[in-house]
Symmetry: C2
Subunit: 254 residues, 2 copies
Amino acid sequence: MKSVKDLMMRQPDEIKGEKLYEGKAKALYRTPVDGVMLMEFKDDATAFDGKKKGTIVEKGYFNAKISAILLRYLEECGIQTHFIDQMAERYHLVSELDMLSVEVVMRNIAAGSLARRLGFEEGQVMAYPILEFYYKDDALSDPWLNASHIKAMDLATDDEVLCLEEKGRQVNEYLQRFLQPRGLQLVDFKLEFGRDSEGVLILGDEITPDTCRFWDVGSGDKLDKDRFRQDLGDVEDAYKEVLRRVSQEVPLCG
Amino acid sequence: MKSVKDLMMRQPDEIKGEKLYEGKAKALYRTPVDGVMLMEFKDDATAFDGKKKGTIVEKGYFNAKISAILLRYLEECGIQTHFIDQMAERYHLVSELDMLSVEVVMRNIAAGSLARRLGFEEGQVMAYPILEFYYKDDALSDPWLNASHIKAMDLATDDEVLCLEEKGRQVNEYLQRFLQPRGLQLVDFKLEFGRDSEGVLILGDEITPDTCRFWDVGSGDKLDKDRFRQDLGDVEDAYKEVLRRVSQEVPLCG
């Protein structure tokens, strides 16, 4: 097998090579094609630094589809992503990236830790979108970072930090433009980036109700992992509803 | 009384007007001269969000002198400060400022919350000086901020944020140049800034062992409020020793 086309003619189990990573929600495998990885979306879910564990039935199925739609859309908008194609129900073929240890969080509306830390009412619209960096380190519970920590810890170059800020804000604009007409308010979300073989920063990971807060535009109902975190019930229905909405045909990029 | 000169001929109690602020370590009073304030340095000390309280004998005396020396030195280096003159033993005359709710913290060596949060060994020298912003809010325990929070919360303008970053780094450079030859390693410190009547950002507050971590260059012994925080003993001696060292005649600004 030499190309993505060859891989797409097989089943995921036939092309699964070395497992490079397995986390709560995803696993990543090598494939026989150099530079192409297989990403598996799992049903497991954790919250509160892994203190809460559970399974959301069919989450992997919904997330693989949701993320494929949103990453494809971002590609159409000109944002380079690692997404190559969806395979079977729960798998993405993705480009190999050297992932940064820095997560980018964008916040349009106060919720979660932002509301708690800075005393905002949940639901308060930010006068300006908040951009935060976090250090991906489970043992340290993903502490916050700023550009000077990133520089001192050599986690990214100054130019890469500027690029992360620019891409974070662009993705936020594009996603809101896509989601709003589909009745989804983009409250906040997390992005992960990695360097390709030429050192270019590319959007990786996933964009799903696991990594975004989505609220129903009309009612404000939560349609994301907060239903699991906060025991709100109807968790599976929320993921299913997000998939239904992002699958709707609505004019793109307005 | 119309001028600072008039004020300086009186005793502090004679010119104390309305008390505008009283915190753990300082109090601030109006004076009969417009735009000139009286800042009192107290012996009280707190730590851990006020959970630990105590008194450090003669701290106010030492801090008023230490801060006067360091602020005067920074003025000589071209950094505008609120410091006008020292009055009696525990008082500064200072210019009135509209203080920002943002604190600037500079860190050259890992200690305290930086070491804990990001997993550094205490004492590890940072490859690049860390600059952090915090929101002055006791009820929220002074949470961290970045430029986007500051903008969204309208705590300072974009230009002011750039100015805070520039001044923080300049003050760090100048202070290290002053302290190192006097045997004091500047581990980290906090600065507060305010706007003068023309909207210019001016360095306010104090620069003392309450707001800086100072380690003895040779032994690494702590010569600051960590002796109080960590019950290391000889707290008063540390403040006295810092005053002795910053009072030494050593060539300025290299």
